[in-house]
């Protein structure tokens, strides 16, 4: 299980996370929604130890991420797949090599490597892109390679940072389906998204990050019916309220 306990994170004088607490139960997809720039990506990076919280704790399977020795960190990363918002593919390598790199680190036999790569590329419908370089792919294709790179590892957890942004409606529906299927295989997912359809299709639980804290978290169905005006308004995407609401709260 992943648990964040009153995590604080600031960049310079700018406080991004201000006591964020969240539990990610195993075997489910937890969706994090929230305004652009509220720290959703920062939250994911704290989970995998790319960023260290200034205060508070991140716990994965009973171990505190911040206090890890280098080899414990390697073990942590061995069980977490990470889909970057920017895809972050290695641009000097082909798609196949991008996916193989993580597999090699996990000491997967070379003979299984090809199958694993083909399998994961097929899942994101990019079976014929293996020999291409990232610069030859469209933005949405790169995104899907990023997903393939994470799922090829067959990790225990996958952190998806906006997996459907930049995808056409059909491909993003396929991506939602993929995240559901991956969950059904027992993988725990944390999905950051702006796409409400995706949130309620792929998510079992939904949490809204607002002003550095979790405003509300609960089963997807429950959040859809929420009375909280901030969450309601975000889910419904009404343009008028946020500014007036924020002003009223200060």
């Amino acid at each position: 299980m992943i648990e964040l306990r009153s995590v604080h994170k600031a960049f310079g004088a700018r406080e991004i996370l201000r006591g964020l607490s969240l539990e990610v139960p195993e075997g489910q997809n937890t969706v994090i929604i929230g305004y652009s720039g509220t720290g959703k990506s920062v939250t994911l990076k704290c989970i995998i130890g790319l960023l260290q919280p200034d205060a508070g704790e991140v716990e994965v399977d009973g171990d505190i991420v911040g206090a890890m020795e280098p080899d414990e960190l390697v073990a942590l990363r061995g069980k977490i797949g990470y889909v970057f918002q920017s895809a972050a593919l290695f641009d000097s390598m082909t798609v196949n090599e991008n996916i193989a790199l993580g597999l090699r680190r996990r000491a997967i036999a070379e003979s299984d490597l090809r199958d694993r790569i083909e399998e994961s590329l097929a899942v994101v419908a990019l079976g014929d892109a293996g020999e291409k370089y990232p610069s030859e792919l469209s933005g949405g294709m790169r995104k899907r390679v990023g997903v393939a790179r994470a799922i090829a590892l067959k990790p225990k957890y996958i952190l998806y940072d906006e997996p459907t942004t930049g995808l056409d409606p059909v491909t993003s529906a396929v991506m939602d389906e993929l995240m559901v299927r991956t969950r059904d295989l027992g993988v725990t997912g944390v999905i950051v998204t702006h796409d409400m359809r995706s949130a309620f299709t792929a998510g079992d639980r939904v949490a809204m990050l607002y002003e550095g804290q979790i405003r509300q978290v609960g089963p997807a169905a429950e959040l859809r019916e929420t009375d909280d005006p901030v969450v309601r308004q975000f889910i419904e995407g009404r343009p008028d309220a946020p500014l007036s609401l924020r002003r009223a709260e200060r």
């Binding site: 990076k45 995998i48 130890g49 790319l50 280098p70 390697v74 990363r77 061995g78 977490i80 797949g81 990470y82 970057f84 920017s86 972050a88 593919l89 290695f90 641009d91 790199l101 993580g102 680190r105 996990r106 790179r149 590892l153």
Partner: protein, 252 residues
Amino acid sequence: MQRTAIAAPQWGRFVAHVGRWTLGAMRALGDIATWRSHLVPQMRRLGVDSIPIALFIAVFTGIVLALLSSYIFTGAIPLYFVGALVGKTIMMELGPVLTGMALAGRVGANIAAELGTMKVTEQVDALETLAYDPRSYLAVPRVLAATIMFPVVTAFAVAVGVVAGWITAVNLLDLSTQEFWKGLRQFYQFKDVWFGLLKSASFGAAIALMGCYKGLTALGGAQGVGAATTRAVVLGCESILVLDAFWALVLL
């Protein structure tokens, strides 16, 4: 240079930072499986591909040294000393230092720009999430490759520089091949060679370290990468001068 003097108090913090970073790199060095396969390609890219520029510089250094020493010596010192001066200065000082300076631009900038771009496009973060240590995957093979290949490139440069000096002496000065080699051999010591090569190995290590350090700590976007690259080259050149003085103090 002036900026360095003004920034003196910052140097302490900087050195501590580099020290901590170097310690981490030492640990990265132990992770042989990660960097092994990248060593030879880097040796080719940073070393072999740098040979043309190093030889270009060496040819002209050899020519100028021969002309210069004959100009200085004429009428005062036997001309065969031209061989000694050309040989010794190229082996001990100009070969390693000029090659180092040229490669600080080529190798230091190459490393800083590549790693800096990887940093700001989150590729370095991606490596980390795949459970690699970016220092052992990216930095170690480059630093090792530069440390191994700088002496090789310098050795070629020294040989070509001496030959250029000899050809110049024979064709443009009143000197025979026998006299040139007499001067060269009379004052030659084995130390001249290893002193120069040791220096160039340390230059290679310093330049690659600066490139990796500046690249992996680049911030922002294209501008950040540009700034990191410039700093890497400047720091590389500065460390060459400092190391050059250091080895002269310690070993001569």
